[in-house]
Amino acid sequence: MAGDTLTSGEYIRHHLTNLTYGQLPDGSWGIAHNAAEIKAMGFWSIHVDTMFWSIFLGVLFLYFFKKVADNVTAGVPAGMQNFAEWTCEFIDVSVRGSFSAKNNLVAPLSLTIFIWIFLMNLMDLLPVDVIPEISKLLGIHYMKVVSTTDPNATFGMAIGVFIIVFYYTFKIKGVGGFLGELTLQPFSSKNPVVQGLFIPINFVLELVSLISKPLSLSLRLFGNMYAGEMIFILIAIMYSAGVTMGLLGGVLQLGWAIFHILIITLQAFIFMVLSIVYLEMAHTDH
């Protein structure tokens, strides 16, 4: 697949380029043809592949669960309902484990985060060339299948979570409580002068920690998935380097894929648990 027409570098770059829609250099709107055009588009462009796959998987998840929810019965459950109930129960237990306040949003939020991220990560287990090659046949030249390897997707989710976190922080603690948390800790003193000196120090520390939370939340997921995808791509390059390397690549791909099953589940779970923890922090004083 690679090597014959592309160098390894080009192959990797090709795999890591999104299908981007935006304003082309000639002023018209359309799909970018190369990396330079994408760069030129700047902020006002959109990754069509990321949007398509994430929404497709999200709709798939919601379709499946909605179907279960429509036919849900309190009697003897069967088939899909068992699975959906097991998932909901698992999420519910996780939420109850780390979230003490009463909030009807947190559990469905966690369910959405977990399943959606899991499904997007799951696309990573498809051999890296399958969908890009199919889309190439359909005339689409760039296709990044794993949405979570796009920082836009992970940042989007992290920002979504933090909008909710801020909403509940202001709702429960008020603006004063929020500012107090931002300036009156970790250092505090009874002496008003010393306290006054502490306020800027506290503010800098807390601001950094506040900003780092959504950043680390999204970058953790992005980094893991990006690195995993990268390794799959590197293994895929081995297929073009003769039979021996190809066989080794096959073994490596299998091994990495099996290991990756753990990673994709774990990353989805970590994102969910951290979101719950941040929401819990928004509900409690500390």
Binding site: T50, A69, V72, P151, N152
Partner: protein
């Protein structure tokens, strides 16, 4: 690493998904789970209640049985007592009746005897008169016949 509009798109789709999950997925599924949990709890409670009631009923039945046994024993004892009483009564009755009958019979016998004696006496008197008549017809000699008359009179 291009940050662009995709970020906003992802944010919006995330919000929509969360809203949809909250409204149409989580609530009904957890509602069903809650309902089932309640049903099971109710069923278990009912089962326990039933068992408890059964135990109570068994105890009650035992009590009733014991009472019935005691009553039956009483009744049997009473019946036996009454039986002996009846037998005693019958015995006494029979004895008194017998005695009465005997007394009556005796009185009757005496009466009969008296009546017979009376009749005999009448007949003897008639006989004596007839004898006397015969004697008188043969010889009217009171002095010679005095001893006969005396002897007759003595006989009576």
């Amino acid at each position: 690493m291009n940050i662009n509009l995709t970020l906003i798109g992802q944010l919006l789709s995330f919000v929509v998904f969360v809203w949809f999950t909250m409204k149409y997925v989580w609530t009904p599924i957890m509602g069903a789970l809650e309902e089932r949990r309640k049903k099971i709890a109710d069923g278990l409670a009912a089962g326990e209640r039933g068992q408890h009631e059964q135990e109570l009923a068994q105890e009650r039945a035992k009590g009733v049985l014991q009472e019935a046994k005691a009553q039956a024993g009483d009744i049997v004892a009473q019946a036996q007592k009454r039986g002996t009483e009846i037998i005693d009564e019958a015995k006494t009755g029979a004895r008194t009746e017998g005695e009465r009958l005997i007394t009556a019979a005796r009185a009757e016998i005496e009466q009969e005897v008296n009546r017979a004696r009376e009749q005999l006496r009448e007949k003897v008197a008639v006989l004596a008169v007839a004898g006397a008549e015969k004697i008188l017809r043969r010889e009217i000699d009171a002095s010679t016949n005095q001893d006969i008359v005396d002897a007759l009179a003595k006989e009576i």
